[in-house]
Amino acid sequence: MTEEERIEEPRDQFPVGMRVLAVDDDPTCLTVLATLLRQCQYHVTTTSQAIMALKLLRENRDKFDLVISDVHMPDMDGFKLLEHVGLEMDLPVIMLSAYGDTKLVMKGITHGACDYLLKPVRIEELKNIWQHVVRRKKIDPKDHNNFESKDKHHTANGGGQGATSAGHPDQNVRLNKKCKDQDDDDEDEERDETDHDNDDPSTQKKPRVVWSVELHRKFVAAVNQLGIDKAVPKRILELMNVEKLTRENKYRLYLKRISSVANQQANMAAAFGAADFSSLRMGALSGYGNLRTLAGPRQFQSPSFLSFPSSGVHSRLNSSSLNMQGLSSSRMIQLGNIQSLTNPVTDPCKLQQPAVVAGSQSGNILQGMPTSLELDQLQHGKGVACIGELSTAINVPKALAVPSGFPDMKVNVGGLDNALVGFSKNSLMLRGHPQGSQGTGGATGNSFVVGASLGSDFSPQFPNHDRCKNNWQSAQSPVFSTSSLPSNDHQKCATLGPSDMRNNDSATAAHIVNNISNLPCMDAVASHMLDQIGDFQCQEAPICSSGIPNIEDIPKQTWEQDFSNRSELICGTNSLASPHNVMGPLGQSFNSNNTMFSNNMELNMIGQSNCDDPLPMQPHWAQKSALEPILDSRQGYPVAQRKVQENISNSISSIEDFMAPMVKQKHEDTTFMDGDFGCDFYSLRTCS
């Protein structure tokens, strides 16, 4: 009765009348629970089957405020249900179980539960469950403006996020935990808003959405669901529910960047914003993260990035598609910004744009750039934003730029325009917060790859890579986030994704794939990326701090041994410049890349001697070549991916490869390497 009414109103009567859905296979418990809940004056619906519960929830999202579910159920695991709810509906979910092992509780949290109760349930405990709903809602209103709030929510802290950094995608909301269910809140907001919103969120604190694997998965799932075409960030976000962090984070960052950067970016952002942003954001974030990681986690961030960007940028841009350069520079700037993580990314974005634009034209290059940016950006969205911005302007690489999402970076890559977007997406994907990306490589997997969509050339995919990469670490490339790809055109991603990725790292690919799979588009790319990454063997490593922040993450992937060195690639990010080589030579033998990388490596290289590997990469590169095509398709993502893989070692080479392929495939790794290399590698890294 009043429940409905209540709902309409601001729920002043809340918590009375709160609508709860209770799920438990044990009829005794269910009955008792229902009765207890009714005692609390909640409105209760019960079901003993998880499947039924999902059905009910799907029928009408607004029918329920809260879900309480048993952990141990015959038809579906409680955690799985939890994830679904989080992803799809973004409702708070409370877990219930007779066992309260720390491990189980932890599992619940990581899957996004906002609380864990022990059986038998006491009424006192139930009296307070409404707080979770409120918390979430709080963020919503804010989020609308801020998306970020949502992200924040993810952490179930919703409140925490509240900072709503206003839609800062960054809100990443500590996605770390990826409160999937929570995240969605933000996402719902749909950042579409055209990026502009984010303005500040980035600063807010963007909770860097940690592109956790989960997110990535979600991302990928979302992307898949949406289909690459429609993998609009928004949608993805929605799907991801949890993802809250993403779009906003990345997107916002991206937006910020863009707005800050210039209209260009705004345009891009807008463009991307819609789609990419999500991705980018993610990617951006990731990218950023990636970049960061690449950069040598933060090395770049501060001064490193700056330096790197320049070097990376320069080196790469020149040769690589400019995009990169443009991006690189921008990115670098961003990167530099990223340091501040806060939204400096936007700045870089701006920078990027100009630079990127120049370079990015080729787009591909940017990819590399973004990554770096992203790295810096880790800022999350910022990078992405920047990248995104760049993308639009440049190729979208900006998106890559958004290092945070690196995905933006990806965008830079290659056709950055869209690629960036792709990246953005990727970025978004990457969201993983590139910042964190260091390890996470900026969720990189995501965006970057996605980023590719933009330019397809780019390695946007790479962003995903980054993301992926980043995630790799965590999740390993969930980033591949198809998110980036999904929307943008994933063109690349789609195509590239799988193929490219494959080559690289089977391992990584796995991750990437994971990530990628998440991202429908990205998946393809991701897979490619993965492959690539695999190849890259994400050398996890050291991802050459140069930018390949993401790549570092990827190291996990054991990308093919070569990549191991790749981490060095990150160093290669410097070599990103070399990626230029990659661009063309991709097939050529990464050697050139390697050389390039070497160059880059030197540049940024953080000294990554690791980059050494890049040379060895060559063999990989060959793979990369394979990847490259993917990269292109990926939008650069593959490249990104590869990049990631290469990340470290080959990253540089890959970058080169990317460069070439980026354009084509996305050498991603290589190409990205150029500018993005940092990023890409990042991704790669992450992948690795």
């Binding site: 044990d26 009955t31 005692q39 141990h72 007779a98 009424i123």
Partner: protein
């Protein structure tokens, strides 16, 4: 005693709107748990014992019994689970017998209570 606070809480839940709440819940519990017990019995006959499955059953059983506040039964459940985890077949069997005894006792008592 055989029942703990939970049961008390259940009783508190019973009101004019729900006059037979407790009785209903208990009846539900017995219905559900008989089934479970049967499953466990059967599982225990299989050799070698499938501890995972047993653990699962016991988890459920524990949940139910704790919902109605069957303290002793619940304790046996925990014990049973421990044995399962340890892979101690002998211990499992023994505990289960004990559990069944407790369960039967409780049932009798509750029936009397409701008369």
């Amino acid at each position: 005693g055989y029942l703990d606070d939970q049961f008390v809480q259940l009783e508190e839940l019973q009101d004019h709107a729900n006059p037979n709440f407790v009785e209903e819940v208990v009846a539900l519990f017995y219905k559900d748990s008989s089934r479970l017990l049967l499953n466990i019995d059967q599982a225990l006959e299989k050799k070698p014992l499938e501890f995972t499955k047993l653990d699962g059953y016991m988890h459920q059983f524990k949940g139910s019994s704790s919902s109605i506040g069957a303290k002793k039964v619940k304790a046996e459940c925990t014990l049973f689970r421990d044995y399962c985890r340890a892979g101690n077949a002998e211990g499992c069997m023994r505990t289960f017998q004990q559990l069944k005894k407790e369960y039967a006792t409780l049932r009798k008592k509750l029936e009397a209570y409701f008369q």
